[in-house]
Symmetry: C2
Subunit: 346 residues, 2 copies
DNA sequence: ATCAGGTGCTCTAACGTTTCAGCGCCATGG
DNA sequence: CCATGGCGCTGAAACGTTAGAGCACCTGAT
């Protein structure tokens, strides 16, 4: 069926096929009350037969806005974009976009070709009518510009400098605090190292703060140290090396994400130490792989897919002119207890 | 800078700012030789000052094609789209698209809203001018339709029913054969089970065929059995359970992807068997996680990012009217030997 | 018979872009 | 002094869509 030789089928083609004007076809397809049911039937039949699909450029031009939304992820460096977090986020956004018949663009190029970052151009060119920004770097000035220009964007994560921009996230401070309390209170560990992410990422800062806050609040005499990584496995290993060397009688390592926890695991093992008997280990994120290691890593489950869904949901509201009710939506997280901190107990 | 109140800056705005016609502005910005250097300077200055960004709908409408390309991934079921394979592919495609200043759409909804799958609409509506299709299911009729309609698409993988469509892939049969030979010839194992993927996936079929072919060609008396999984960890575990129960003196398991290999690893371990001493284990894909297990899993490295790059490259050629030189581009793979098949040796 | 109002369509304009023919102008050559 | 032609720009048209004004026809009421 649907011969569709080479040229594309337009309203005009359907119109001549039915023998009416193209505006009538347009109105018929949008179920306008002023078009007779008979004509509508005929139009729908002809459209289906010819394989008519509305041209999105024509439609977007006329409407003054496209039906696509964009997801902006930090730069091409694959250890960032390639992170499972973004994939989960994408799955969520996709689901919501599909439900609304909206197309999804993915934009990732931060370098400024004509004075504007590629992803900002996507909005300014109206290729997409709104964007979900998952760039975590505090220092990305382009994000500020987009927010200041009142472009419809939803941020994923916490952007302290942009208190008025709609955002979706989890309470990272509470998450880190929860896992820290698990180490201190459930397992009685008091000599703990934290491997943080780069401290120009709000996420890394918040997790570190949650860690320190929980230690301080515990009321027990705890000793802690910090090593900074970059969320990669390699950096986690290096950081673990550093803290294992520098802190005597280290009892636990809490890495700011699971990948660094893997790196730490390798380093701990390579020294002949056992997990959790000699060193307890905790991570953060739970993007599917932490359960595969032996022992499974105790971690905070970040509901990335739900974040994506919610972000898209809010963005579509924004595009409809509805202001998000809480400007900052906070989703719940889960503490997932596996074996890396010690035997289960209350 | 860049006040950009609410309305968008168009050619006309730049034109009135400079005091010339909008056509002149258009020509100036595209560096047309018939426009004086002085005027060009003035136009560029005004455009930058006003923050002019060409409206993509207007441009696409005029040009008759958009500057976006689409990546089509199989349906929303997250264990499919969320697979690391697609992330790596996406990274590659993104890199290439960025290099050409093209926007990237991601489409995944197969259900037919108006008689056409969502991702086919993306092409027919000219929201994207070409697509990279990474859907592996043999039975997806929509893919056939798109190819038959001569829409510009590049397939990733092997589509035996579509010999004339441009495609990019690796030689899965050779890959599976290589890893099978590693088991048989390097480690002298002769009682081997294969855990395949669903056999309506060409990839699964090819890997199984490579396995059998290598066994047959080995000239040694080998015994093998098959269990079918669905590429998920759980199914891998179930399949391993099945083959461990049914085949006595089983020496090795070759899973058609790493995730099923993980599942198999869990099952093997739960029976108190050791890897590789009691059972050798091999996987396929090497998407970054197989090196984290202990022992690391011997596998075939699939260059997914390179596949994405190459696919995009070919698609852009296609859009320029250049026919891909080999219709089917085959990229090399690597056999990655870790510890799961036994001690390293020649 | 005339008019009001409704019905079902057509016509026109507009969205922002690019392309192309054309027009006025100046310098040059006859 | 008039043709020639290059230069630098203008104006119009077209891409496909949709909204709204308008027009022809019909029905029913006056």
């Amino acid at each position: 069926m649907t011969a569709a030789k080479r040229a594309n089928v337009t309203l005009k083609d359907v119109a001549t096929a039915v023998g009416i004007s193209q505006s009538a076809v347009s109105m018929a397809l949008s179920d306008h009350p002023r078009i007779s049911e008979t004509t509508k039937e005929a139009v729908r039949a002809a459209a289906a037969r010819l394989g008519y699909v509305p041209n999105s450029a024509g439609r977007a031009l006329r409407a003054g806005r496209s039906t696509s939304i964009a997801v902006v992820v930090p730069n091409t460096g694959q250890h960032v974009f390639g992170h499972p977090y973004f994939m989960h986020l994408l799955v969520g956004v996709t689901a919501e976009a599909n439900a609304r018949d909206a197309a999804l663009m993915v934009s990732t190029n931060p370098d400024e070709t004509h004075g504007v970052a590629a992803y900002e151009r996507v909005l300014r060119s109206q290729a997409a009518s709104g964007a979900i920004i998952a760039s975590a770097s505090i220092s990305d000035r382009n994000v500020n510009r987009m927010v200041e220009a009142a472009l419809p964007v939803v941020l994923v994560g916490r952007f302290v400098h942009l208190p008025h921009a709609a955002s979706v996230g989890i309470d990272e401070i509470a998450g880190a605090a929860a896992i820290t309390r698990h180490l201190v209170e459930d397992h009685g560990l008091t000599r703990i190292a934290h491997i943080s992410g780069p401290l120009d990422h709000q996420t890394a800062v918040d997790r570190y703060e949650g860690f320190r806050g929980a230690l301080a609040a515990s009321g027990r005499p705890c000793t802690h140290t910090l090593a900074v990584g970059d969320f990669s496995e390699e950096s986690g290993r290096a950081a673990a090396r550093q803290v294992l060397d520098s802190m005597t009688d280290l009892q636990a390592i809490f890495a700011a994400n699971d990948e660094m926890a893997y790196g730490a695991m390798l380093e701990i093992r390579s020294r002949g130490l056992r997990i959790p008997e000699d060193i307890a280990l905790a991570g953060y994120d739970d993007f599917g792989v932490s359960r595969l290691t032996t022992p499974g890593i105790t971690t905070i489950h970040v509901p990335a897919e739900a974040l994506g869904r919610k972000a898209a949901d809010i963005l579509f509201d924004l595009l409809d002119g509805t202001a998000p009710d809480p400007v900052h939506t906070v989703l719940p997280f889960d503490l997932v207890i596996r074996e890396s901190c010690g035997p289960h107990s209350g």
